[in-house]
């Protein structure tokens, strides 16, 4: 395996950014941002993984069983929640942009209007 999961991270990040840059639709752009953020989940979980270890839940295993790092898993949970919140907020901006400018194409949203 070596570095394969980390290379996947770079790939997800790059395709997400490509989508944001070339997007012609705000909702599509928001989804691309979700893709970019997904790369951080893979990175965090990949960093904390221990070969052959189990999930850090000691409900039915002994405390001495090797388990993966719980801190990065908690960070990923935080990340998911923040992403959901940010997505909701961005969607509401997209709705208002469409109301005001009549378009969702970011390249036509060039000038600010009072």
């Amino acid at each position: 395996m070596g570095y394969f999961p980390f290379i996947v991270v770079a790939w997800i990040l790059a395709v997400g950014l490509y989508g944001i840059v070339t997007s012609r639709h705000l909702v599509h752009q928001i989804i691309c941002l979700i893709v970019v953020q997904s790369s951080t989940y893979v990175l965090l979980l990949g960093v904390g993984y221990v070969t052959g270890a189990v999930a850090p839940y000691y409900f039915d295993i002994t405390v001495h069983t090797p388990a993966v790092d719980p801190v990065v898993q908690a960070l990923t949970l935080t990340d998911v929640v923040v992403e959901a919140a940010v997505t909701a907020l961005l969607c509401s901006f997209a709705i208002q942009a469409h109301k005001r400018f009549g378009t969702l194409d970011p390249q036509e949203l060039v000038s600010l209007k009072g």
Binding site: Y3, L17, P70, V71, T78, V82
Partner: protein, 252 residues
């Protein structure tokens, strides 16, 4: 800038980013060779210190509880932001709930959809509460439970219509529940300060049995408050977005 130029600028930039990333990667230990020791230490001591068998929840609601307060308030602020951004604008009025295109042939919600949605509403509420109250035992917690609870309300929307959804989740009640959820979390922390401990110290009795609902002190309590907050925030966000369908612009 034309789209083609934009693409080339982007490709140059992302090539540099990926090159630096891969360069940095060489300094990391390979996948599966977690160097520790932080994760190992927490895994070893968390069960004895908190009586929680779910170490991820112990990290979220106890060791890194302060970060989670911030996270919860990000959600709180985002819900408030959605409500603010989607407020009624000048020249907008709320559309009366009548069909403006009466000749349009809208198929009614099928009986199967209604049946399944109503059938799942009750079980989803139970599962949501179960998840929100078992953070200390297994891979659950207030965040997951809250989202499941909110989806029970969205099933009501699916089974009926928006006005029914609004009756089941009135704005005043969701606002109050959200405030109780967010404030409760902060208050648990302040209560620890009142006892002369550090903010968010786990000051409650940790119980006798690992992983039971009564174990782990404030972890279960905080998870409960987070469940309330998350459920209310998501119901509010969905309601705000759905309400947009009732708005029409003046003269439009």
């Amino acid at each position: 800038m034309t789209p083609t130029q934009r693409r080339w600028v982007f490709l140059a930039g992302v090539a540099g980013l990926v090159a630096f990333y891969l360069w940095g990667l060489l300094g990391l230990p390979g996948f599966g060779n977690y160097p520790g020791p932080y994760g190992f230490v927490i895994n070893r001591v968390a069960v004895a210190q908190t009586n929680a068998t779910g170490v991820v929840s112990a990290v979220n609601f106890d060791y890194r509880g302060f970060d989670t307060v911030g996270e919860e308030f990000i959600l709180f602020a985002a819900a408030a932001g959605v409500a603010t951004v989607l407020r009624r604008l000048r020249g907008e009025r709320e559309r009366p709930a009548v069909d403006e295109a009466a000749d349009r042939n809208v198929p009614p919600t099928s009986g199967a959809v209604r049946m399944v949605a109503l059938l799942f509403t009750g079980p989803l509420v139970v599962v949501g509460w179960w998840l929100a109250s078992h953070a200390q035992a297994n891979p659950s917690g207030g965040f997951q439970g809250g989202v499941v609870l909110a989806s029970a309300f969205i099933l009501i929307y699916l089974a009926g219509e928006f006005l029914v959804f609004k009756r089941f989740s009135p704005v005043d009640v969701t606002d109050a529940v959200e405030a109780v959820g967010a404030g409760g979390f902060a208050a648990v922390g302040v209560a620890a300060v009142g006892l002369g401990l550090a903010y968010l110290t786990n000051f409650l009795d940790k119980g006798q049995f690992y992983g039971s609902v009564s174990s782990s002190g404030t972890i279960a309590l905080i998870s409960f408050f987070v469940g309330l907050e998350v459920a209310a925030a998501f119901i509010m966000i969905i309601a705000e977005l759905l309400e947009q369908t009732l708005f029409i612009r003046g003269g439009g």
